[in-house]
């Protein structure tokens, strides 16, 4: 698989065995072009952005702003605020939009499927502003209870929903969710951290009001992400952090702010990371993401079926549009023990609550093992994973 050659880390061994990296829902590996782009920036063009007139500052600014241009063209978006990641992007909505637009008694609708990053900021805002939070339950088939969702929208000003669950891999019926929310005059925030790596989303067509995601789950660097915002909603937001690039003028009496995305990007931004993310977009643009996703969900489905045949409980349905994520619980081997034993043979999987405790509580568990697949994973790796798991089960189960 030629694509794997672009990732130097995949050549390494772990504990004397070839690395099989199956923790992609946590973060993906980076192709050489991303590493080179970031290294070249620091080696040749390092400078701060926007203000200085010298050549290096010009190159740095161009590189940074090119990331915004890429974001807008990749997702067909009007506004793209560059953040430190999905979490900051969601917090930006809570502070920048929520504080300016929500009052006591207003309702925010969340789901039991949300990552903590899409729960905690709303709990903090609810406490501060007296906002009511309503949670849409998850059904036994791992989907959202859409009847409860529709019934929970009275008084709702915002719906926050995850595009694809980082635990279940379930891709939610977002088009329907957005449509119903808008009929009820509620805005919609999509946590697309697990969605954008697999799904080439047209933000305008999608019609969500906010969409948050991170670079590092799509072959880009850590520490950078984005919030896409619909133009008319962008105009209703207030700055979240003060200082640096977000100002227009500052006097001892007060300040005025930028009117573009810089208003929400206080301080020196993530310049090297933005340049690295651009390289990741360029690298990904050469792939047929739809075809790749079809291949990966096929692998995930096969793994899930194999696990079930071993009497292991699998959480997820692995439909055609779902994420290539397989979360499971072995009947006798503790999740953490299993992850350590797999690591001893070079397999990197995730264990724990996956920052989705309400969802795990819903299924009566506190921890699960998660294997998640991305562009460079192969069926051969999946088969070796199952062979190793069978071996460990026989030895330690």
């Amino acid at each position: 698989m030629a694509l794997r050659d672009d990732f130097p880390i995949l050549k390494r061994e772990v504990n004397g065995h070839p690395l099989v990296y199956l923790d992609n829902a946590a973060t993906t590996q980076k192709p050489q072009v991303v590493l080179d782009a970031m290294n070249d920036y620091y080696t040749l063009s390092n400078a701060n952005v926007h203000r200085a007139v010298h050549t290096l500052a010009g190159e740095a600014t161009e590189g940074y702003e090119l990331c915004r241009t890429r974001l807008k063209s990749w997702f067909n978006a009007e506004r793209a605020v560059i953040t430190s990641g999905t979490t900051e992007a969601i917090n930006l909505v809570a502070h920048g939009w929520g504080r300016a637009n929500l009052k006591s008694g207003d309702v925010i609708v969340l789901t039991e499927m949300e990552h903590h990053s899409d729960i905690v900021p709303w709990q903090m805002l609810a406490e501060e502003r007296g906002v009511e939070l309503r949670y849409v339950p998850v059904l036994d088939d791992f989907t959202l209870d859409m009847d409860v969702y529709a019934a929970s929208l009275e008084g709702a000003k915002l719906v926050c929903v995850v595009h694809t669950s980082n635990v279940l891999g379930v891709r939610n019926p977002l088009e329907e969710i957005i449509g119903i929310a808008h009929e009820n005059e509620a805005l919609v925030l999509i946590d697309a951290a697990q969605g954008v790596p697999h799904d080439r989303i047209d933000f305008k067509q999608f019609d969500a009001d906010f969409m948050a995601f991170s670079a590092h789950k799509m072959c880009g660097p850590t520490g950078i992400g984005a919030l896409l915002i619909k133009e008319e909603v962008f105009q209703t937001m207030q700055p979240f952090m003060g200082g640096g690039d977000m100002i227009s003028t500052v006097t001892t009496e007060g300040s005025t702010y930028q009117t573009n995305e810089h208003k929400f990007e206080a301080g020196t931004p993530k310049i090297a990371e933005a340049i690295g993310w651009c390289a990741a977009f360029d690298w990904m643009s050469k792939l047929d993401l739809e075809k790749e996703h079809e291949r990966l969900i096929g692998i995930a489905r096969w793994v899930a079926d194999e696990l079930r045949s071993m009497d292991i409980t699998v959480y997820g349905r692995h439909g055609p549009k779902d994420g290539a994520v397989v979360s499971f619980l072995h009947p006798t081997i503790h999740t953490e023990d299993l992850a350590h034993l797999l690591d001893a043979r070079g397999f990197a999987v995730r264990t724990g609550h996956h920052c989705a405790q309400p969802l795990l509580n819903r299924f009566g568990i506190s921890s699960a093992v998660r294997a998640s697949f991305y562009l460079y994973n192969t069926m051969d790796e999946a088969q070796r994973f199952i062979v190793q798991l069978r071996d460990i089960t026989e030895r330690f189960g």
């Binding site: 953490e336 023990d337 690591d343 921890s367 330690f396």
Partner: protein
Amino acid sequence: MTYPEILVELIEEFSEVEDKLERLEMVFDMADEVVPLPIDQWDDGSRVVGCQSEAHVRVDFEDGKIILRSGADAKLVQGLMGILTLALNGTAPAQALLLSPEFAEEMGILNSLSPSRSNGFRNMFDKVMRDIRSLH
């Protein structure tokens, strides 16, 4: 650092094993050394914080000697507890307090465990020592 004889033997035994899976299996086997703390006695006072799995320890004295009782849901944690049990049970508090946690590193256990687990072991070790000090 001078360790009790049982730990010196374990350090030697563990350091001879290169394969990580085998070393983990050896830690698992050490779970047999645990003096169980029954689950109905697990409470906030016995909980080891900073451990990803549920882990509980309780220190008692009998005839002036330490008895460490413990329990955990993960086998690896139970194994680590077993090693600590071998090192501490039956010793006098003053002697026990001389023990440093580096023995786990010398056994290659910390290297074979994730940072969170290492911290968990360290937290467990520190809690046991705190409990010995407060009861002594």
